[in-house]
């Protein structure tokens, strides 16, 4: 075999070809012949190297230099400089722009990435990248080495549970759907990730769409379905586009369509885009929306596994659940089950937000404590403040406190503590957060998103919100807490779907753990965290005030008076508590009192 001292790899993908990649190859060959280097240097054609946005592109080995943006006229110069004189031509060298990913950084301590393993690592719009990362090998293994029952057994023994939040064992759901004697059957992927602050699924759909598609195909084989829908929310246009590209490529490669991989198994998929309704994340509402109806839930049973979309058995799982499946099939159930607690296995993705040093997307093994997540993975509380509460499970979840920090991440443990696993939103709050205000904020959200079909949720959430607003406004009365508790229990017990059943959780959990804050609002007309405007007042500390007048000049309602170089005064009657004076004061002379 000939030995070359150097190899030049020229990208010949369609984009670079359009920019003259073949001409560059010819020019390089000609120049190497002219310079007598043709026996020393080999020119090869290759696929995509970089982004191709500034093609043509080439890589030169052994140096590993990435050149781009040259024309055939530049080739003689480049050959002389680089290959004769050994000098790298900076002019054509690709400047590597530092990629700042504000969502998903490098692996953090204690993180284990299973679902997110490919995100940011592969090109989501190129199926070959996924194939190179063992993509669709699990599908091959399932189709050729496993019966559908064996696939279900594998998922059952892996311990994978629904990552949408409820935690129903995925394998068990598949088994139920398989057993129902009715055809056709459908696979549904719930990609209607609506919880505020939760964007784990968006990232998977945008970064590794094929893992979800492969999981759905394997699921389709297991339950005996031949068609699937991915219901994605309209707020995620990039995810929709990425999914459509991925589905098209999967069809071209024979992973979707008839006779998949030459077997007699047929399966195809389509993306259904929502039109903006939070309640469509509820499975029966989601299926109504797929069928072109208003996204209103229907009573269960019958469960979707028995009677779902078009009245047929439909297996509904969430994005993260499906995304776990290929790796479980490939690496085996024991590997997956080796992570986690007795009843909660594997890993879970979270979008950590709020007052932490390092917010963003994380994936941690089940069983890890909340303390480890907040203080080690997310870097602790920002600005040296004290931890107060963590809200898990989104608007239907609850607030947990200091005493729960050592709880293991486990479906049952979180539920027992008065919250839930949820889909993966994690909002961390420091001592400056008012828990009554937080409860009001979440209730404002669920109240607006109630679809209005059932009375407990439609009217109840509104009444709860009114009570909370009254307390935040300083108009709370004796008995309001008891009224609130009663109402919450009624709404939770009588609502039709998960939205109404879960809506009171933020209120009940804050009432349980922060009852004294409610009491302070009602009986002492005081907001301990100094958040609720009607209950706070801004005061100028006379000794610190220099009388610079900046606060008086910035006050929008002229509530501040005082002579230049004399301590100023805020008139509490006129003040609207906007806080501008405190922001503009250069001497920290303004304090909030409650």
């Amino acid at each position: 075999m000939a030995f070359y001292r150097s190899h030049v790899l020229v990208c010949v993908d369609p984009q670079c070809l359009a920019k003259g990649a073949h001409e560059i190859v010819d020019a390089l060959q000609d120049e190497f012949v002219a310079q007598g280097l043709i026996d020393e240097i080999q020119v090869l054609e290759t696929s995509r190297i970089g982004g191709c946005s500034d093609g043509p592109e080439m890589m030169v080995y052994p140096e590993g230099v990435h050149y781009h943006g040259m024309t055939t006229d530049d080739v003689p110069f480049l050959v002389e400089e680089h290959f004769l004189k050994g000098r790298i031509v900076e002019r054509f060298r690709e400047v590597v722009k530092p990629v700042i990913d504000e969502e998903l950084g490098p692996l953090r301590p204690k993180e284990v990435r299973v679902v997110l393993r490919n995100c940011g690592e592969i090109d989501p719009n190129n199926i070959e990248d996924y194939l190179a990362a063992d993509g669709y090998q699990a599908l091959g293994k399932a189709l050729f080495e496993m019966t559908p029952e064996k696939v279900i057994d594998e998922v059952v023994s892996s311990g994978l549970r629904g990552r949408g939040g409820a935690g129903f064992p995925a394998g068990k759901k598949w088994a139920i759907t398989r057993q129902v004697e009715d055809n056709p059957k459908y696979m549904i992927c719930n990609a209607d990730e609506g919880d505020p602050g939760a964007f784990m699924n968006r990232r998977v759909l945008e970064g590794d769409p094929h893992s979800v598609i492969e999981g759905m195909i394997i699921g389709g084989y297991a339950v005996g379905a031949s068609y699937g829908y991915i219901y994605c929310r309209a707020e995620y246009p990039v995810a929709v586009e990425t999914l459509n590209i991925a589905i098209k490529q999967a069809r071209e490669f024979g992973f979707l369509g008839n006779n998949i991989l030459g077997t007699d198994f047929n399966f195809d998929l389509e993306v259904r885009v929502g039109a903006g309704a939070f309640v469509c994340g509820e499975e029966t509402a989601l299926m109504a929306s797929i069928m072109g109806k208003r996204g209103e839930p229907t009573p269960r049973p019958p469960f979707p596994s028995v009677r779902g979309v078009w009245g047929k058995p439909s297996n509904n799982n969430n994005v993260e659940t499906y995304s776990n499946v290929p790796q479980i099939i490939l690496k085996g159930a024991p590997w997956y089950a080796s992570m986690g607690t007795e009843r909660s296995k594997g890993t879970k993705t979270f979008a950590v937000g709020g007052n932490v040093v390092k917010p963003g997307l994380i994936e941690v093994p089940m069983g890890i404590s909340l303390r480890e997540i907040i203080f080690e993975v997310a870097g602790g509380i920002k600005d040296g403040k004290k931890f107060k509460a963590v809200q898990t499970g989104g608007p239907m979840g609850g607030c947990l406190t200091e005493q729960h920090l050592d709880l293991p991440l486990d479906y049952e443990a979180l539920t027992q503590a008065g919250s839930m696993m949820g889909s993966g939103g994690l909002v961390v709050m420091d001592e400056a957060s008012c828990m009554v205000d937080i409860a009001r904020f979440f209730m404002d959200f669920t109240q607006a998103e109630s679809c209005g079909k059932c009375t407990p949720c439609r009217v109840g959430t509104r009444r709860i919100l009114e009570l909370l607003q009254k307390i935040c406004d300083g108009k709370g009365q004796d008995g309001d807490i008891e009224k609130l508790e009663n109402l919450c229990h009624e709404v939770a017990r009588n609502s039709l779907c998960g939205l109404g059943q879960g809506a009171p959780t933020p209120v009940l959990s804050t009432l349980k753990h922060f009852r004294h804050e409610y009491e302070a609002h009602i009986y002492e007309k005081r907001c301990p965290a100094k958040v609720c405007r009607p209950l706070i007042r801004y005061e100028i500390q006379a000794p610190t005030c220099t009388g610079c007048t900046v606060c008086a000049r910035n006050c929008p309602v002229e509530a501040i008076s005082g002579e230049r170089r004399q301590a100023h005064h805020i008139d509490a009657e006129t003040c609207i508590r906007c806080g501008i004076c405190m922001q503009v004061c250069n001497f920290n002379a303004i304090a909030v009192e409650s």
Partner: protein, 165 residues
């Protein structure tokens, strides 16, 4: 009240949407979304036209105008009222709220003299709040038409709005 006639534009837009998404009942939401994208809202005439083109008892497809209207009023992204040339969608959810979203919202309302859901008299701007866009790591976030702006500060509002004609 002025009587509006169904102009050619509505007919052809509806036809194109139906050709793209099919003639079955489950095509109604995609079809209405398409119409909303073209006109900025779903005009009454378009609803009549969709019904005319889709309702077909022979194929067991029964569609009433009221059903189409109920869909349009249910989903946030579909509008029954005309909107401005540019729609500003502001994320009002907790993660954006805690990083200064309120100041942006107040700034937008003040700058445009609009409340949630309103349109400026010159039909240039409509201001609405939106559900979480999942861009929480760069909050506060706002969306103007299809352009996303993250890490927005109150000072940037005027500059951002100037990009639009």
């Amino acid at each position: 009240m002025t009587v509006q006639t169904i102009d050619h534009d509505v007919v052809s837009v509806v036809q194109a949407a139906i050709e793209k998404h099919g003639k079955n009942r489950d095509a109604m939401i995609p079809v209405l979304s398409e119409i909303n994208r073209v006109f900025g809202y779903v005009p009454r005439e378009a609803i009549q036209e969709v019904r005319k083109q889709l309702h077909d008892p022979a194929r067991q497809v029964h569609i009433a105008e009221s059903q189409l209207y109920s869909l349009t009023s249910f989903y946030d992204m579909l509008s029954t009222k005309p909107r401005g040339r540019h729609v500003i969608k502001f994320c009002e959810n907790a993660p954006c709220h805690v990083v200064g979203g309120k100041a942006i919202w107040d700034g937008l309302r003040e700058k445009l003299s609009l409340e949630n859901g309103e349109t400026t008299p010159d039909n240039k701007w409509t201001l609405v709040t939106t559900s979480c866009l999942g861009l929480c790591s760069v909050g506060p976030v706002l969306l103007i038409d299809d352009d996303m702006y993250g890490n927005v500060t109150p000072e940037q509002i005027s500059e951002i709005l100037e990009h639009y004609e």
